[in-house]
């Protein structure tokens, strides 16, 4: 099974409250914030790694995971790709582009061009990037390819080496189950990190992965050493024949207004109820 996993580098989402905008509102500045792998992509990478390994045999690889990142060809993008390679992916592709020239539309076109070259069985990606929060590129990619998409997958079971999938996906009102004939695009929900959320027909069906609290697996020391030797190919929109035609134009960025008022520390349950009833008048 061959899986393409797009990964994006984003300004540290856990410190997004420290972001600033430039004086004229023309740009978001993330000075002082570390670049991190988009956490949503990290979950998808975990799913892809589980699909392409035998967890009962020390996570022996039984398939291939190709990482692709679109962004500046700098140490940060390189580091994010190496991090994914250290976790177990086989190789990486860096598509050179400036961040502020990209939107979901261009990302979907670039990914289509990569899929056309690599012919993976699956593309597994984050439902959104933690910076733009758009939740658009995956579905647009699927439409460009004429492939089905399963958004918000919480359980993935593959058969025939990834040619068919049974997926449970999260809805606002519950959970839907679909069967998909691949190749296909999948985006993941938080629940894909659960110990029994991914079944590939190779790892024993009753295998329990370690409980992951926040993101995907950590790289082992051996993985980090091996990653240094794994190839990262560099390409560009031009090489891929993608027109950098944005569909969106941001005209202004602002920091949202801070919540007004101080926090009132109440002394007791009675005090709280009195304030909510008489002052705030919300109960």
């Amino acid at each position: 099974m061959k899986i393409l996993v797009p990964i994006k580098r984003v300004a540290d989402p856990d410190n997004a409250s420290k972001l600033k905008v430039s004086g004229d509102g023309g740009a978001v500045t993330s000075e002082g914030l570390e670049w991190k792998m988009n956490p949503f992509d990290d979950w998808s990478l975990e799913a892809a790694l589980r699909l392409t390994e035998n967890a009962a045999e020390k996570n022996a690889r039984v398939g291939e995971v190709i990482l692709v990142s679109i962004g500046p060809n700098d140490e940060h993008t390189q580091r994010i790709i190496r991090e994914g390679l250290a976790k177990g992916a086989e190789r990486g592709i860096l598509v050179e582009a400036e961040d502020n020239t990209l939107d979901s539309n261009i990302v979907a076109q670039v990914l289509k061009a990569i899929v056309d070259k690599e012919s993976p069985d699956l593309v597994v990606l984050g439902k959104q990037a933690a910076d733009g929060d758009s939740n658009v590129a995956g579905t647009q990619l699927a439409e460009h390819l004429g492939w089905p998409i399963v958004n918000y997958a919480m359980q993935l079971t593959t058969a025939d080496d990834g040619k068919t999938l049974q997926v449970q996906r999260e809805l606002d009102t519950g959970v839907a189950t679909v069967k998909v004939t691949g190749p296909a695009v999948v985006t993941t929900s938080d629940r894909i990190l659960q110990p029994e959320s991914v079944k590939n027909g190779v790892t024993p069906a009753d295998h329990q992965y370690a409980k992951l609290e926040v993101g995907g697996r950590y790289a082992s020391l051996k993985g980090i050493m091996q990653a240094k030797k794994k190839p990262i190919d560099t390409t560009s929109l031009g090489d891929l024949g993608v027109e950098p035609a944005a569909a969106l134009k941001y005209t202004k960025f602002e920091l949202p207004p801070a919540r007004s008022g101080e926090t009132t520390f109440v002394e007791s349950v009675e005090d709280l109820v009195e304030k909510l009833h008489n002052a705030a008048k919300v109960i």
């Binding site: 647009q140 699927a142 938080d190 949202p256 520390f265 705030a280 109960i283």
Partner: protein
């Protein structure tokens, strides 16, 4: 002049309230540009849902009855074919809207402004404000393509009220899509609750990891939820731990809520959680740790052990 198509969201043959948030956005666009709006009811039981939607001032209500469960591959071609006749296609940024509309947009070669919090009309030109970076930045965006696709954040657009009149109902042609043959809808488990919907409730009571178990949600949180007539929510940690089901998750990766009163119980307040609730009018935190980040957004903070405080709070609320 922008003519707008609102894509209704159906659940078991009825229009979900999310539909009416889309209607509110569509009205703003149509009125601001001197255009009009129509509604498309699509899915199983679209006829009955269309009947429900005739009183909101739409030029017409279109219906496309498609049997079987929803997958975006079965709907997108029909929505796109109908959408060809409009300038802007709108739906709520629910899990449904965010699944369906990007596919429709790709068919229409349209840019998508997703999860918008406001519509601006300036001299007939449209732009949109949308929260980014888990709500820590808001961006104003223009869509450059001839057709525009927009999903709207439910907590920022009130549900449209009935405005009288009776929009005519027309059939929309169903367009087949070969990609739909690659997806088989197996089933859906709809979570039923007597409580208000999380995204529609006036009061939301959310619990976090500190609850420690599903039983504690049942025995400690639920009595308070019901005493307040509230909806129940939870942090990602509580959902991941299996204390409550995933559709109750509030945050960047769950639902965005903005009730009149939000109670965060045993929730530390990770930035991803704040993204889903900091638009609430009054925020109460009940937590043992007064330094918890939830204090950044809390109006009232009770420093207490929740296992003592919540049963007492429930009793006090019942006395009101």
């Amino acid at each position: 002049m922008a003519n707008v198509l609102v894509v209704a969201e159906l659940l078991e043959g009825k229009a979900r309230k999310t539909t009416l948030c889309g209607v509110t956005a569509a009205k703003t666009i149509a009125e601001g540009t001197g255009g009009s709006f129509d509604i498309l009811a699509i899915g199983e039981g679209a006829g009955a849902a269309a009947e429900e939607l005739t009183g909101f001032g739409a030029g017409k209500v279109l219906k496309a009855d498609i049997a079987g469960g929803y997958v975006c591959e079965k709907y997108a071609a029909t929505v796109a074919a109908v959408g060809e006749g409009y300038d802007v296609v709108v739906a709520c940024a629910s899990a449904y809207g965010k699944d369906l509309l990007p596919r429709v947009a790709a068919k229409l070669s349209a840019g998508v402004a997703s999860d918008i919090s406001a519509v601006h009309v300036d001299g007939g030109n449209l732009s949109y404000t949308r929260p980014m970076y888990a709500g820590n930045v808001s961006g104003t965006v223009e869509i450059l393509t001839p057709k525009q696709v927009v999903t709207v954040r439910q907590s920022e657009f009130d549900a449209a009220a009935e405005s009288g009149g009776s929009s005519p109902i027309e059939d929309a042609a169903v367009t087949a899509d070969p990609v739909a043959d690659k997806v088989e809808f197996v089933g859906v488990e709809v979570v039923k609750s007597e409580r208000p919907e999380l995204t529609e409730a006036d009061i939301v009571v959310s619990g976090g990891r500190a609850l420690k178990s599903a039983e504690n949600f049942t025995n400690v949180i639920e009595p308070l939820v019901d005493a307040l007539g509230a909806a129940m929510g939870a942090s990602r940690a509580a959902c991941d731990a299996g204390y409550v089901s995933p559709e109750l998750q509030v945050g960047q990766t769950g639902k965005v809520v903005a009730p009149k009163l939000y109670l965060a119980i045993g929730i530390s307040g990770a930035i991803q959680h704040l993204a889903g609730m900091k638009g609430s009018k009054t925020i109460v935190a009940i937590n043992k740790d007064k330094e918890a980040p939830i204090a950044q957004v809390a109006d009232y903070f009770l420093v207490a052990d929740l296992f003592d405080a919540i049963p007492a709070l429930t009793e006090e609320v019942k006395k009101l």
